[in-house]
Amino acid sequence: MKLSLAGVKVVRGDWSLSAEGVFEDGIHLVSGDTGSGKSTLALMLAGQLPPASGAIEREGIESALITFQFPEFHITGPDLEGECRTWDLDPTPVLKDTNLAGKKTLHPLDLSRGELKRLILACVIAKNHDLLVLDEPFSSLDSREKERFCATVSGRKTGITIIFTHERVHFPRVSRIWEIQEGVLHDRGRLPVALSQWNRAPAVIKKLIARGRTPENFSQADLLEAACRT
């Protein structure tokens, strides 16, 4: 599977975003400051927003899905069970996995935003689309849920997963890092080489690299391994 961007550009007044590159199978992390254009690029990659110029081509991608920062936008079911069914999923395992089985008769909007996010992300991951674009998947989740989500998304062995985030602490194991800076999408390359190219890398990663302990990846386990390396 391949998602190619050739000369893609979007312009809004003084603001613009240019993107070029190829997303292949694996988990990609796209980082960037707030307002840098992450959500706009996410929409374009998911085929929901046409670029002003350039082309986005899909090869071997049969199905695509995007999740938005606010999970409310995805709701169409009358209760949690109904919501799972609208995703064509069996509610029992999904609600059990998300610790929401006791609230199955509640309307999704009666959940806290964190709980709702957990449910929507679980449904989305379970659908196993070829292309999965996750816009700020960590927002509203607590640390434990962020780690749980990282473990779940790391388990996605097939397809292209693109995570857009400004998260600084919790990450899954990723294949490639991308960075939006000054209106341009930069490909920082594959891990672990990409870590030294990553301008917005969290301080802990920069310190580990400075001490000659470049982690293999940047999940919590990888960082711990690098920090404790002798």
Partner: protein, 221 residues
């Protein structure tokens, strides 16, 4: 129209004129075509088109369920359609601060300021609801939910829930910052020649709508 005083006054007068009779609705529609830049209005606010379809639908339902007869249903449908078009014109011409300026100019720094601020937050909320609706439609499309009445119910409840949540958060923030009532604001208005022409035309349309045609012309019986 850049001057909110003229825009709000014209909108009130034209809405009333459109509601009064089919003749009123017709002359107001002509005014809308001439002064509202209709292509821009419909281009910016595409949601107007489904709203117009909905008005037509309810007009038909009213007729089929034995409402007030064909003429009544037709009049209501035409009037409501034109009123929606006037509303769309007001909405698309809105610039941040318009209603705060109008409120304080009209009713002063206490009641006027409060009402203006309520209208401002309402308009901002409406803006957010429009962008939220676009995201909801995208999410529903990706989920395979077909567009129609069944998709409107969850979308509507999400929009209302979101608007209420934002209103509550805004109210809490304002209370925390010490807001109780009123404020101080010196409104400045920009009145163009086009504003004056459109405003005068709106008054003419209002007169035509409210005063019988026979008052102007000698009609042969």
């Amino acid at each position: 129209m850049q001057d909110i005083r003229l825009r709000a006054g014209a909108a009130a007068l034209l809405s009333l004129a459109a509601f009064t009779s089919v003749t009123g609705a017709a002359v107001v529609f002509i005014w809308w075509l001439l002064f509202s830049r209709p292509v821009q209005v419909l281009g910016k606010l595409r949601i107007v088109i489904p709203a117009l379809i909905l008005v037509g639908f309810f007009g038909l339902v009213l007729e089929l369920t034995g409402g007030g007869g064909i003429s009544y249903s037709l009049r209501m449908t035409v009037s409501m359609t034109v009123i929606i078009l006037i509303g769309a014109w007001v909405y698309t011409g809105y610039r941040q601060g318009d209603f705060l300026r109008l409120g304080t100019w009209l009713l002063g720094n206490k009641t006027g300021f409060d009402l203006g601020m309520v209208a401002e937050t309402g308009m901002q909320s409406l803006d957010l609801m429009v962008s939220d609706l676009s995201r909801i439609q995208q999410a529903q499309e990706l989920k395979g939910t077909s567009r129609g009445i069944r998709s409107l119910v969850p979308a509507g409840s999400i929009l209302i829930h979101g608007a209420l949540r934002r209103a509550e958060e805004t109210a809490e923030l304002m209370a925390v910052r010490g807001y109780s009532c009123g404020g101080s604001y010196c409104p400045v208005f920009n009145t163009t020649v086009r504003d004056l022409v459109a405003g005068s035309a709106a008054i003419c349309m209002g007169i035509i709508a409210f005063v019988p045609v026979s008052e102007f012309f000698i009609l042969y019986h």
